[in-house]
C-alpha cells in the first residue's frame, strides 16, 4: 500500500509509555526473560567449554589447526587435483572437498533430469507410464538412503572381476573395479575448444539480449538460432581445426590384472551417484509434478486461443509459472543431495567427511575435524541457497 492512502493519524507513532520497573510491564518481563535465557545458555556453554579445555589438557591434545601442515600419509584413490600420500592434511582435505563437490554437481544435474522425466511421466495419460512412475516414487521415498547406497555398493561389488568384465559396447567395461569408458587423449586444442564454447555461449547470450531489446523497440522478431549455432558450435570447431584437430582415442584395455587407459568411474563413486540420483529424483519428481499441476488449465487454453504454438505455450506461459512453484522446494532438494553425499563415508568414497574422519582419527583433533566438516557444508549450503534465492527472486511474480 502506498503512503498516500494511509490515514495520516496512523502514521504517528503510538505514544511512548515510560518503562515502569514492575512485573506487570510487558517490556520488563521480556528483558528479564531474555537475560535469564541468555545467562542460562551462556553458563551451559561456559561449562561445556571449560570441561573441554580441562579434558584436552588432561589428554594432552593441542588445539589449533597446525596439524593441517603435517604430512597426511593417507592414500586417496580419487583426486581431481594431483595428490600424493606425502602431501599435507590441508591438501588431503581439499581433495575431499573437491570429491564432495564432484558428486554433488554431477548428482544435481542427473537428479534434475531424471526427476523431471519421472514427474512428467506421473502426469502421463498413459496408465502404465504414470503407474510405473508412481510406484518408483513411493518405493524410493520409503527406503532409507543409506540402505539404498549399501544396496548399490553390494550390487557393484557383485559384478564379475576384470577378466570376466561385462562388455556391452566396444570400449566399455563394467566390472567390480568400476566402469571403464573410452576417452580421448587430452590436448591443448581441446581446452581451447572448450574455452571457445564458453565464449560462444556468452556471446550468444549478449546477442540474444540485444535482439530482444531491438524487438521491443521496433516489434520485429529476429532469429537468434543461426547466430547461436555459429557461436556455440562453429567457434569451438573452428578453434579446434585451426589448432590441428587432434583426435586420438584412449581406449581401455585389459592388461595384466587391471584395465589400462580410458577413464574410470570407481565403484564407490558409481554406487554413491546412482543412490543419490535415484533417491533425490523421487523427491524432485513430486516437486515437478506439483509445479506443473499448479498451472491452471485456463492458462493453456488462453495461450492456445492466442494462436501460440505448443512449444511457445510451454516456454512462455506454462514453464515460467510452474518454475515459481518448483524452484524453492527444488533448492532444498539440491541442499539435501549435497548434505546426503556425506553418507559416502559408509561405502568408502573419499569425500570430505571420510577424509576429515580419517584425519581426526589419525591426529586426535576431533574438534577441528568436525568443525571443518561443518564449515564446509555450511559454506556449500549457504552458497546454493544464495544462488537459488537470487534465481528465485529473478523469476518470482512481481506484484504490487
Amino acid at each position: 500500500m502506498s503512503d498516500a492512502t494511509v490515514d495520516p493519524r496512523f502514521r504517528r507513532k503510538p505514544p511512548k509509555r515510560p518503562l515502569r520497573l514492575s512485573w506487570s510491564d510487558e517490556r520488563v518481563r521480556g528483558i528479564v526473560y531474555q537475560v535469564l535465557v541468555v545467562a542460562l545458555i551462556g553458563s551451559v556453554i561456559y561449562w561445556l567449554w571449560s570441561n573441554t579445555v580441562h579434558n584436552l589438557e588432561v589428554r594432552r591434545i593441542a588445539t589449533g589447526f597446525g596439524f593441517l601442515n603435517r604430512e597426511a600419509g593417507l592414500p586417496i584413490a580419487e583426486h581431481l587435483i594431483p595428490y600424493d600420500p606425502t602431501d599435507t592434511y590441508l591438501r588431503a582435505l581439499t581433495v575431499g572437498v573437491l570429491n564432495t563437490l564432484k558428486v554433488a554437481v554431477v548428482g544435481i544435474v542427473l537428479a534434475t533430469i531424471l526427476g523431471t522425466i519421472i514427474g512428467v511421466a506421473r502426469l502421463s495419460k498413459n496408465f502404465l507410464v504414470s503407474k510405473i512412475a508412481a510406484f518408483y516414487v513411493e518405493v524410493i521415498r520409503d527406503l532409507p538412503l543409506l540402505l539404498q547406497l549399501l544396496f548399490w555398493y553390494t550390487v557393484m561389488q557383485g559384478l564379475p572381476g576384470p577378466r570376466q568384465a561385462l562388455n556391452p559396447v566396444e570400449g566399455v567395461f563394467l566390472s567390480n573395479r568400476g566402469l571403464k569408458l573410452p576417452w580421448i587423449v587430452w590436448e591443448p586444442a581441446h581446452t581451447a575448444a572448450l574455452l571457445a564454447c564458453v565464449v560462444g555461449i556468452v556471446l550468444t547470450w549478449l546477442y540474444a539480449r540485444q535482439a530482444r531489446a531491438k524487438q521491443y523497440a521496433d516489434g520485429q522478431p529476429r532469429k537468434v538460432w543461426p547466430a547461436a549455432v555459429a557461436l556455440v558450435i562453429g567457434l569451438p570447431v573452428l578453434t579446434w581445426q585451426v589448432m590441428g584437430a587432434p583426435w586420438q582415442g584412449d581406449w581401455p584395455a585389459l592388461r595384466g590384472f587391471n584395465f589400462q587407459g580410458g577413464v574410470n568411474v570407481s565403484p564407490e563413486f558409481a554406487a554413491l551417484l546412482i543412490g543419490l540420483v535415484t533417491y533425490t529424483a523421487g523427491f524432485i519428481a513430486e516437486v515437478v509434478r506439483a509445479g506443473i499441476l499448479s498451472v491452471s488449465h485456463g492458462q493453456w487454453e488462453a495461450a492456445q486461443a492466442l494462436g501460440l504454438r505448443h512449444g511457445s505455450v510451454l516456454r512462455l506461459i506454462v514453464m515460467p509459472q510452474a518454475l515459481r512453484v518448483i524452484i524453492p522446494p527444488l533448492t532444498s532438494n539440491y541442499l539435501n543431495l549435497t548434505k546426503n553425499s556425506s553418507l559416502a563415508v559408509a561405502i568408502g568414497y573419499q569425500d570430505i567427511v571420510s577424509i576429515a574422519n580419517t584425519t581426526l582419527n589419525q591426529t586426535g583433533q576431533a574438534i577441528e575435524g568436525i568443525a571443518i566438516i561443518m564449515l564446509v557444508y555450511l559454506t556449500i549450503s549457504l552458497s546454493i541457497s544464495l544462488f537459488m534465492n537470487w534465481y528465485n527472486a529473478r523469476i518470482a511474480l512481481v506484484e504490487r
Binding site: V38, L48, L143, L147, G158, S381
Partner: protein, 380 residues
C-alpha cells in the same frame, strides 16, 4: 434456435440406442488410457514388455530359483555352496532364514528374544493408538508414559524376575524404534518451543532460535552424530560418561527438533493475524493465547507435513550405522560379514528394506488419508 429446429425435418422415431461399446467398459478404458495414439501404443507395448520381463525375472530370482535353507555344517558354519552355485540366478533366502533373529534383535541374549519382540509389538501398538483420532486428547500422555516405561523395563530387565541385559547388547529393530520414538517424543515439544521462539518479539530469544535451526539444518546429520560420538566425551567433566546410544539419541533429538520447528513455524505463520488479535483482545496471557488459541489451530494445519517429517526422520535413524550403533540396518550389514554369508548382501538389504518400507508406507498412507480428512472443510 427454435427457427432452425422448426425447419429441420422431424427425426423418425427410433428405439433408444445402447451406449456405444467403444465409450464405456474395459475396451474403451484401454483405448483411452493405453492406446490413445500411435505414440501411446508404442509406449504401452514397450512398458508392458519391460514390466513383464522385470516381474518374471524377479519372480524367477526371488521364488522359483531361490534357496530357502541350507544345511548347517558340523562346526556350526552354514554350507552355502548351493547358494553360490546359483551364480546370482536365484536368491539365497537362507541367509534371512538363518540370520533373521540376529537382524531383528542383534546380540540380545538368544533365550530372551521374546522381550525385544514384545517391545516391537508394544511400539507398533503405541503408534496405532496414537494414530487414532479418538485418542487425540490428554489420555495419550499417560498411555505414552506407561508404554515407554514398560518398554524400558522389558529391555533392561533386572526387575520382576527378568534378567538384566546391559544396553551394549541391545540391537536390531528395537534400537531403530527406540531412536525414532524417543527422538520424536522429545524433539516435538522442543520444536514447538523453538518455533515459538523464532516468532517471538524478544530479540535475544529469536536470535538464539534462528542460529540453532539454521546451524543444524545447514550441516549433515552424520556430522552431528560424529560430534555426539567423538566430541561429546570431551564436553563432559572427567569421569562422567554417558553411553553411546544416549549420545546418538541426543544428536537425533537436536536434529529432528530443528526440522520439526520449521514445520511448526509454517503452521504458526499460516494463522491469520486476527486470531492473535482476538486472543489479545480477550485479555489472555501469552501462554494462554498460545496453548488455547494458536497451537491447536497451527498444529492441525501442519499435521500432514509433520507426518512426512516423521517418515524422513524414521529413515534417518539408520545413519547411526556410521558411528557403530546396532540398529536394524547395522545388524543386517553385520549379518553378512561372516565369510559363509558374504556375497548375499542383496537378499539381506531386500529383507531390511521391506521392514522399513512397511513402516514408512503405513505412515505415508496415513498422512495422505489424514490430509484428505482434515481438508474436508475446504473442499467445495
Amino acid at each position: 434456435m427454435s427457427d432452425i429446429t422448426a425447419n429441420t425435418p422431424a427425426i423418425p422415431e427410433q428405439r433408444a440406442r445402447s451406449a456405444p461399446l467403444t465409450a464405456v467398459g474395459p475396451i474403451a478404458w484401454m483405448r483411452a488410457n493405453l492406446f490413445s495414439g500411435w505414440l501411446s501404443t508404442a509406449v504401452t507395448l514397450v512398458c508392458g514388455y519391460l514390466i513383464i520381463r522385470a516381474v518374471m525375472g524377479f519372480v524367477d530370482w526371488a521364488f522359483i530359483n531361490a534357496i530357502w535353507s541350507v544345511p548347517i555344517g558340523p562346526n556350526g558354519i552354514a554350507q552355502t555352496q548351493a547358494c553360490r552355485d546359483l551364480h546370482g540366478t536365484g536368491a539365497c533366502w537362507a541367509v534371512v532364514t538363518e540370520k533373521h533373529r540376529f537382524m531383528l534383535f542383534g546380540t540380545y541374549p538368544y533365550e530372551q528374544h521374546w522381550r525385544p519382540a514384545l517391545v516391537c509389538i508394544l511400539f507398533v501398538a503405541l503408534y496405532i493408538v496414537s494414530a487414532m483420532r479418538r485418542f487425540w486428547n490428554w489420555t495419550l500422555i499417560p498411555i505414552w508414559i506407561g508404554t515407554l516405561t514398560a518398554i524400558g523395563v522389558l529391555m533392561w530387565g533386572g526387575v520382576l524376575g527378568l534378567p538384566y541385559v546391559p544396553q551394549e547388547r541391545w540391537g536390531g529393530l528395537p534400537i531403530t524404534l527406540i531412536l525414532a520414538t524417543f527422538g520424536l517424543a522429545f524433539a516435538f515439544p522442543l520444536s514447538i518451543l523453538v518455533a515459538l521462539g523464532r516468532r517471538s518479539n524478544l530479540p535475544a530469544i529469536k536470535v538464539l532460535c534462528v542460529v540453532y535451526v539454521e546451524l543444524i539444518r545447514g550441516v549433515p546429520l552424520i556430522s552431528l552424530l560424529f560430534m555426539a560420538s567423538v566430541m561429546f566425551p570431551l564436553f563432559l567433566p572427567e569421569g562422567m560418561n554417558i553411553d553411546k546410544l544416549l549420545r546418538a539419541q541426543i544428536a537425533i533429538i537436536l536434529f529432528a527438533g530443528a526440522y520439526l520447528a520449521e514445520v511448526v513455524r509454517a503452521g504458526l505463520q499460516s494463522l491469520p493475524k486476527g486470531q492473535y488479535e482476538a486472543a489479545d483482545a480477550m485479555g489472555l496471557s501469552y501462554w494462554q493465547k498460545t496453548t488455547f488459541i494458536i497451537l491447536p489451530q497451527a498444529l492441525r494445519t501442519v499435521i500432514p507435513p509433520l507426518v512426512n517429517t516423521f517418515i524422513g526422520f524414521f529413515k534417518d535413524t539408520s545413519l547411526v550405522l556410521i558411528i557403530g550403533i546396532f540398529d536394524l540396518l547395522t545388524a543386517g550389514k553385520t549379518a553378512i560379514v561372516e565369510p559363509a554369508w558374504q556375497g548375499f548382501g542383496v537378499e539381506v538389504y531386500v529383507f531390511v528394506g521391506l521392514i522399513y518400507l512397511v513402516f514408512c508406507f503405513a505412515m505415508s498412507k496415513y498422512s495422505a488419508g489424514l490430509e484428505a480428512d482434515l481438508n474436508k472443510h475446504r473442499r467445495r
